[in-house]
């Protein structure tokens, strides 16, 4: 079992605001790790740094054995680091099929073609297959705007999984999804994850989901990892209960990385 992701002294400040401080995390291949913490605890900041969207103020990130240095999301994606988003990042004015078609075409990793149609038979069937697995086929030719939140989340995650990533970061996959959809959604996602044998790191507010799907948990509070360990142990921790699973909330600092 090798480390796939390793951060050392990872910190990020927005002016005086501490968004993340001295985060040292090691994720080994095949792990499914949950990240919990109240709003502004630094979860998304952490993911943004790891995926190269947000340069750290200090610290080192190693992915798959090499430091990511100043690589951006694009280069990291090519190295096998994919992510989904808290707010699904989709092409709203394009059809669902086109969203997948462009993603598939990008995932092939070749120079984009300017004459051959993006909707090749192969890509169409591949897209249909994905829509099948996510059972959102009915939206195939709709614009994304026509899809409910849950379906958008699924599509967002599906797109993240294209291009054979080694590791997948899910940013609050169930936020904004109705409680009855949640579990189907997570089941579908986890099914696909298992089939691909991905390492997953996912941010989650819903402790039920966390209990159910992860083996290990990182608890964030005001930018610091206050606890890192097995699910039950972490969720049982008083500090965690006070700062995270409790009702206490801190002001939004995530404006910063916006």
């Amino acid at each position: 079992m090798t480390n796939i992701l390793k951060t050392e002294g990872l910190s990020r400040y927005f002016g005086a605001v501490v968004a993340a401080e001295d985060i040292n995390v090691t994720i080994t291949d095949g792990e499914i790790v949950g990240v919990i913490g109240s709003n502004g605890a630094g979860k998304t900041t952490f993911i943004n740094m790891v995926t190269g969207y947000l340069p750290p103020s200090s610290g080192v990130i190693n992915f798959d054995g090499q430091p990511i240095g100043s690589l951006g999301p694009r280069k990291l994606m090519r190295r096998g680091l994919a992510r989904s988003f808290q707010i699904p990042q989709l092409f709203l004015e394009l059809s669902v099929l086109d969203n997948l078609a462009i993603a598939l075409s990008a995932a092939e990793g070749r120079q984009l073609n300017m004459i051959r149609p993006v909707r090749t038979p192969e890509r169409i069937s591949a897209a249909d297959e994905i829509l099948e697995q996510m059972n959102i086929t009915q939206y195939r030719d709709e614009m994304v705007t026509a899809m409910p939140q849950g379906a958008r989340k699924l599509l967002d995650i599906a797109i993240a999984m294209l291009g054979e990533p080694k590791m997948l970061l899910l940013d609050e996959p169930t936020s904004g999804v109705s409680t009855d959809e949640k579990y189907n959604l997570m089941d579908t996602v986890m099914e696909m994850v298992r089939r691909r044998g991905l390492t997953v790191l996912f941010v989650e507010h819903d402790m039920e989901i966390v209990r159910r799907y992860v083996t290990r948990v990182l608890a964030f509070a005001s930018g610091v990892v206050i606890k890192d360990g097995a699910v039950d142990e972490v969720l049982a921790d008083d500090q965690v209960q006070e700062l995270v699973t409790g009702k206490r909330h801190q002001p939004q600092t995530e404006q910063g990385d916006a």
Partner: protein, 299 residues
């Protein structure tokens, strides 16, 4: 040495004029995210209003300078505000939420319309209201001379700038406006009546454009097309300084003004594109202008 003084003086004078022209543009953009191409037409409108009113006043035997100035400023502001109100309520209102650049085109259409409307109202013969300009005489520094009126314009633009700054930074309305500038959704959520603020902002911005025209009228001869000439220059200033920032507009105006004065005194042949060169140069090093903030999408 002489030239350097000349450059500084002329640069300052031109900069203050630029600021007058650009202020309304940047206020409107800052709050409403509309780059108002019709701003030039509002400027022309103000110029026509003040030129014709002053012309009428002197023609009917008036000779009180202060009345002339009262007329000049008054007519310009009033007509500008009215036009602004009509434009905002009549047309822009129907377009809110549309793409930023589409709004640019909408105001481009307004520009075309206003240009012809003004022609229908005022005809095409030049209006010439030189009396106030002549009345303030000049100050001589050796061979150099500065017209009193130009100095007054400098004063006017300083005052306008100060008022704007106070209004935005020190008043309650200003606070609300800044909240809108910072994040429209949130302030809407916090129950700010954004639409009313928009109307107010646009009317004020339009008024500013008209004032600029009003105070320029006595210097120039007011003819069709003067509006179109100032738009791009004003744009350049505002973009250089950073869209939506009063300070930016002021600094941008100074930079452009001095650069232009310098080129006219030293190498006149560059004058035609010095403004664009400055803008391009600034944008290359500060992609959002000197005081502009980058806005990235939240994820």
């Amino acid at each position: 040495m002489l030239t350097i003084w000349a450059i500084l003086i002329d640069g300052l004078i031109y900069a203050s004029w630029l600021f007058l022209v650009a202020a309304g543009l940047t206020v409107i953009y800052g709050v409403m995210r509309i780059l108002n191409m019709a701003h030039g037409s509002l400027y022309a409108l103000g110029a026509y209003a003040s030129a014709s009113s002053i012309g009428w006043y002197y023609a009917s035997g008036g000779d009180q300078l202060w009345i002339a100035f009262a007329l000049l400023a008054g007519c310009a502001i009033v007509i500008g505000a009215i036009a602004g109100f009509i434009m905002e309520r009549g047309i822009l209102r129907l377009m809110y939420g549309r793409d930023e650049v589409l709004m640019l085109i909408v105001t481009f259409a307004l520009l075309l319309i206003l240009e012809d409307l003004m022609k229908l109202v005022w005809g095409t013969t030049p209006y010439f209201a030189y009396q106030p300009y002549a009345a303030l005489g000049r100050f001589n520094f050796g061979v150099l001379s500065v017209s009193g009126y130009q100095i007054m314009v400098v004063g006017v633009s300083v005052v306008v700038g100060a008022i704007l700054w106070f209004w935005l930074e020190r008043t309650r309305t200003g606070k609300i406006l800044r909240s809108i500038i910072h994040d429209r959704e949130v302030s809407e959520a916090m129950g700010v009546n954004v639409r009313r603020m928009f109307t107010m902002t646009f009317v004020i911005g339009a008024g500013l454009g008209a004032i600029a025209g009003g105070f320029t009228a006595p210097i120039i001869s007011v003819v069709p097309g003067i509006g179109v000439e100032v738009i791009v220059v004003a744009f350049a200033v505002v973009v250089t300084g950073g869209l939506g920032s009063i300070t930016g507009a002021a600094i941008g105006a100074l930079i452009v003004g001095l650069a232009r004065a310098a080129s006219i005194h030293t190498m006149p042949q560059l004058e035609l594109f010095i403004i664009y060169a400055v803008m391009a140069a600034v944008l290359i090093f500060r992609p959002n202008g000197l005081f502009g903030q980058a806005t990235a999408r939240k994820i």
